[in-house]
């Protein structure tokens, strides 16, 4: 079965009276897509809608033409779905292998020996084969995130939704998860939310930037980086009122519309593009 395309049109979502999401038309094609945005920008709300666990309040959502408002179609979407929720969504007292077995049962894998094979495979794939019999609470934060990823991979779903999969991971683990996402993106639709723009370029073919529930950018990581062309500087002295980060050798990198004194214009990164996209959205909202 071909990886599903996702189409959203006029989707809005509120928590009480507070708006959380207000999207125009959006199509998420097969392959990997990153959803970037600051806290409270609507990333998790969007993922929950795509995962069909939140009800659509307004607008339309189709996953490969299937409507999650129709019970039968929602179940068909869920049969193709792997969903990694945000941190903390694991039973602390359960063993890692028992948890995967449990998720396998929820995914309608009826036979215990098939669930055991999936458990074995996914845990080895995320590098946790050695801790299969440990209690989840005894694992580090990074290992727990990988357990959460492992359960999403059971059955190799062709719609993979990962909410902050890189959180708490060290560089090696991030590379491993990036590899898994890249591998799955070849024959699945993978949507990843992240706080880390620099992960995006390594992992995803497309980027959506959300700010205050609205889409402020869609395109490739390279296109996002280009948003900041002409605004990124490296300097020795950090000008007042400009956010900067150290890049070593006593130099600092900053994003600013005007060149700081003695600064050199440099090529922008995805992080810079993201900073500019969010700042522009803030200005537009303030205007």
């Amino acid at each position: 079965m071909a990886a599903p395309a996702i189409a959203l049109a006029g989707v809005t979502h509120h928590y009480g009276t507070k708006p959380a999401l207000d999207l125009d038309d959006l199509v998420i094609a097969p392959g990997s897509t990153a959803v970037l945005g600051p806290n409270g920008s609507g990333k998790s709300t969007l993922i929950r809608l795509l995962a069909t666990v939140s009800a659509l309040q307004a607008g339309s959502l189709r996953v490969d033409g299937l409507d999650p408002n129709v019970v039968v179609e929602r179940t068909r979407i869920r049969r193709r779905l792997g969903y990694q929720t945000q941190a903390g969504a694991l039973p602390p007292n359960m063993r890692v292998d028992a948890f995967c077995d449990y998720v396998g049962a929820l995914k309608e894998i009826a036979e215990a020996r098939h669930r055991r094979r999936w458990t074995h495979w996914v845990l080895n794939r995320v590098g946790l084969g050695d801790v299969a019999r440990d209690r989840i609470r005894t694992l580090s934060g990074g290992m727990q995130r990988r357990v959460a990823l492992a359960q999403a991979l059971i059955g190799l779903p062709d719609l993979l939704l990962l909410d902050e999969p890189m959180t708490s991971l060290d560089a090696e683990q991030r590379a491993n998860v990036a590899g898994i996402i890249g591998e799955r993106a070849a024959d699945a639709t993978v949507v990843v939310t992240t706080h880390h723009p620099d992960d995006v370029a390594a992992v995803c073919a497309r980027v959506i930037v959300l700010s205050r529930g609205r889409i402020v950018f869609t395109g490739t990581p390279a296109d996002l980086a280009e948003q900041a062309r002409g605004f990124v500087w490296e300097t020795v002295t950090v000008p007042a009122g400009v956010t900067s980060r150290s890049v070593g050798a006593g130099r600092h990198r900053c994003v600013s519309p005007r060149p700081p004194v003695g600064a050199d214009l440099v090529d922008p990164t995805v992080q810079d593009g993201y900073t500019v996209a969010v700042a522009r959205a803030g200005q537009d909202n303030g205007a």
């Binding site: 179940t75 869920r78 039973p91 028992a98 049962a105 094979r117 074995h120």
Partner: protein, 263 residues
């Protein structure tokens, strides 16, 4: 398979790994597919690495529970040791109160009969929902009906608490058959909680039903004697509530497919 020794395991692994290398006497025989050999090795490895099945899962299997249902039962959050411990302590207090009481007949076990239906209720409140089950979102996003998961867990909790309560009933000092007059109220309270849980968080549903039950018992006890409070009329009413609750729960089951704030 979990009893395979490390030596046999290594031998088996080596043999399967070499499966693609052809000895001379196999010349002319079609080549072994390496990827298939690898898949076989993975399957065997998964069986060798398979953990010892927990006693509860073994028991359920012997009782004829389906393979797919067993993990749902063993993962029931309401079956925590803390819940079981709380049940035992609460029942010991109720039995103690009955033993110390100077009253006679049903009046002596009125605290026990009032408390007993709350125990499965507490278990159901802890069995399903976002606040008590960290995997709740994963459960909802899975293709298996959340309704079925809730039902399996509620049945598990109800069965466990019924066994404990029956043992406790045998320990209360007197009352005859009235000692199990909690059974239908417990089923009715559980059914009412589950029906209400299709609208609100199961914890709030359980709290509402528990409050209603205790209030009704206290009010009736003030106007009549305990034998009437837990008598045939109450039992029939509880039976009706149990059926009504089950019907409402079934009709609204699709609401459980979404997070509680979206129902």
């Amino acid at each position: 398979m979990s009893s395979v020794s490390p030596t046999h395991h290594s031998t088996l692994e080596a043999a399967l790994t070499r499966a693609g290398q052809r000895p001379r006497f196999l010349a002319g025989v079609p080549t072994v597919d390496r990827s298939r050999a690898g898949a076989n090795l993975a399957a065997i490895q998964a069986e060798v690495d398979a953990p010892r099945v927990p006693w509860l899962a073994r028991l359920l299997r012997r009782l004829g529970v389906r393979e797919q249902t067993i993990p749902l039962v063993t993962a029931t959050p309401g079956l925590r040791r803390s819940w079981l411990a709380a049940v035992v302590v609460a029942l010991l207090f109720a039995i103690g109160a009955a033993s110390d009481s100077q009253a006679e007949g049903v009046e002596r076990i009125v605290v026990f009969l009032t408390m007993a239906p709350l125990i499965p209720l507490l278990g159901v409140a802890l069995a399903f929902g976002r606040g008590v089950d960290p995997t709740h979102e994963i459960v909802i996003a899975a293709p298996m009906d959340a309704f079925r998961v809730f039902l399996v867990r509620a049945a598990t909790v109800l069965a466990t608490s019924t066994v404990i309560l029956l043992v406790a009933s045998a320990m209360v000092p007197e009352g005859g058959l009235a000692r199990i007059a909690w059974l239908l109220p417990a089923v009715a309270a559980t059914a009412a909680t589950m029906a209400l849980a299709t609208r609100i968080d199961p914890r709030y549903a359980a709290f509402a039903v528990a409050t209603a039950w205790v209030t009704i018992v206290v009010i009736i006890n003030q106007t009549t004697d305990p034998a009437t409070t837990f008598g045939p009329v109450t039992q029939v009413v509880c039976l009706v509530i149990a059926f009504a609750g089950a019907i409402v729960f079934h009709q609204r089951r699709r609401r459980l497919d979404l997070l509680s704030e979206d129902r």
